[in-house]
Each structure stands twice: as C-alpha cells, then as structure tokens.
Symmetry: C2
Subunit: 180 residues, 2 copies
C-alpha cells in the first residue's frame, strides 16, 4: 500500500478523550472515605495517595465491566477531534489490555461519543510501539516513549513533572498545536 | 525509543492461529441443513455458498459473545509460535472490531492457548495499516495490502486464488519461511 497522504494522529482514550480520572477518584473517595482531589495528584498517581493497602482495591474499580461505560468526556474533545478528523486520519489507540473486561464498555462509549470515528480506526492494544502513526497524543509518557513518531503529552496530574515531550493542556491546546 | 533489535511478526488470529472456519462451518451447516466443506470454499467465502438470504444469519454466529471461546487451534500453531517467540517479537493483531462482542472471548482464548504471549503484545484492531511490524501473517489479502511491511498470506480456502504475497500453507511452512 502507498502511505496515505493524510497525516495520522493516534489518540489515547483514558485521561485524553475520556475523563477517567474524575470517575476513578469518585470511586476511590467513596470506598475509602478519602477526599483526594485532582490537585492532590500533581506529579503522582492515585496509587501513591491511597497507599499500598488499597492499591489492589483501587485498581479493581477499573476492572469492573461497566466502569468505562459512563465516563465523562474531556472538555472540548468531541469538537476538536471532529475538526481534526476533517484533515487528519484519526485512530483511537487505547491500552485496554490492562483491563480486558473493559473492551465492550470502551467500544460502546466510543460509538456513543465519537460515532464519526469508524470501527476500523479503533485499536485496543498494550505496547504502543505497535502503532504506526505520525502523531500520538497520550497522557502516559511510557506510551509516548514506546511510540515511533511525534509524541505529544496530554496534561494529566500524574505527568505534570514530565518534560520529554511537547505538551498540550487540554483540547483547545490540541487544536492550536495542529493549527485548526 | 530506539527500534527493537529483534524483528517483529504480527500474527492474525482467525484462520491463522485459530481454526475459526471449522467452527463457523459447523454452525452454518447445523443451522441451514447444509453440508458445506472446506473444499467447497476454494476461492470463495461462506457468504458465497450460503447465499444472500442466509448471509446475515451466518455472520450472526460470529457475533455471539462465546463463539470465539472454544475455537480449535490451527495445527502446529502453538509449537511454531513458541519457537518464533524465542527469536522474534510476536504480536497478535486481530481485526476484532468487526465483532465487538468477541473481545473478551478472544482474549480468554489467547491466554489459554498462547499464555507465553504477554498482554501488551495483543492488539484488537480494524484497519491493519495501523500496525508497525516487519512481517504480517494473515489470511486476509486486504489486511496484507493495508500493512506497511512484508505481508505473508496464510492459506485459507477463500484466498486460494490470490497471488500478490508470499504464501505459507500451514504452520510448518511458517517455520520454514523463518528458517526455524
């Protein structure tokens, strides 16, 4: 095949298209009687704050088959992805293999909120070095380091201290990055 | 990231690692009272033989959440993949997006029969142009045409007349191709 003329952007789902962190924090705070906020997570992960005794339980919330079904959207994500979709080839590349129970719910969520992205452009994977694209927008620095192409870190509390990649602070910033 | 030193092989699941066709033919023959064999499918797809009136029902068998759970293995697949795994980076790349209900069953099947392949090396996708690998073994010629890398067609009745790619007739032939 000849490479497509349109540049290709690989978009992460969790903490990029979907506000997974808000939902996860709610579950943790309810279960543990804590009041952890996003601000508390600056440069840290939830596991760092709930402590080792609760890490397994915290991770368990993500294994629930329906956890990913009702995640809130990241502000601006639909409109900006729709705009980029007109100029770029958009693939959703989610590291879903960490939570195999999540596949159907993630798929339903994508079809609900990003119905313009065809099924064939959805990828559930693990190691993101398998992705062939020009750009990757992801909140995970290890994912970006594995990727061969231009990585762009999408700001999340846990990556606040990372400096290895160009950074976008939300979807308006993504639009600016791509000049749309 | 520096590209890995080991060459990477992307393996299709259905009709390559798993004998999906045998199980699918059984379902169709049971339901339609037909006696279609693999030999009847030379250069054709099941849809061509069951006829347009039954095509939706035939496809429906693949949408059942458990269809992919108990598929027989392709002869020799475990041993040869295990051997290749020692020299090459092995990724499973399944075009599972055609049947979103299949994700959990496909994952369980892989963990049962190919437990040595780590989760991070499993990919459920649609358009295989997203796959970055050196080789792809697939029974689908459209998948191989989309792939940037060396495509290898794994013989299945429906692709018997295709000539665009090097061909392997089963897993012993795969082992010969890679000199293992």
């Amino acid at each position: 095949m000849q490479p497509t003329l349109r540049k290709r952007i690989a978009l992460d789902m969790d903490e990029v298209m979907a506000d997974t962190l808000t939902a996860w924090l709610e579950r943790c705070n309810e279960a543990f009687g804590t009041c952890i906020s996003k601000a508390d997570l600056h440069g840290k992960k939830i596991y760092d704050l709930v402590g080792p005794d609760r890490a397994v339980a915290a991770r368990g919330f993500l294994d629930h088959p329906e956890f990913f079904l009702d995640l809130p959207l990241m502000e601006g994500s639909q409109a900006v992805v729709q705009g980029l979709h007109e100029t770029y080839e958009i693939f959703v590349t989610s590291a879903a293999m960490d939570h195999p129970n999540s596949f159907p719910a993630k798929y339903v969520w994508l079809k609900k909120h990003f119905s313009f992205i065809p099924d064939k452009n959805i990828v559930f994977c693990g190691d993101k070095s398998i992705i062939r694209a020009d750009f990757m927008i992801d909140d995970s620095v290890p994912n970006l380091k594995a990727f061969i192409g231009q990585g762009i870190v999408f700001t999340a509390p846990h990556n606040a201290l990372e400096t290895a990649f160009p950074r976008v602070n939300g979807w308006l910033d993504v639009a600016r990055f791509f000049g749309s």
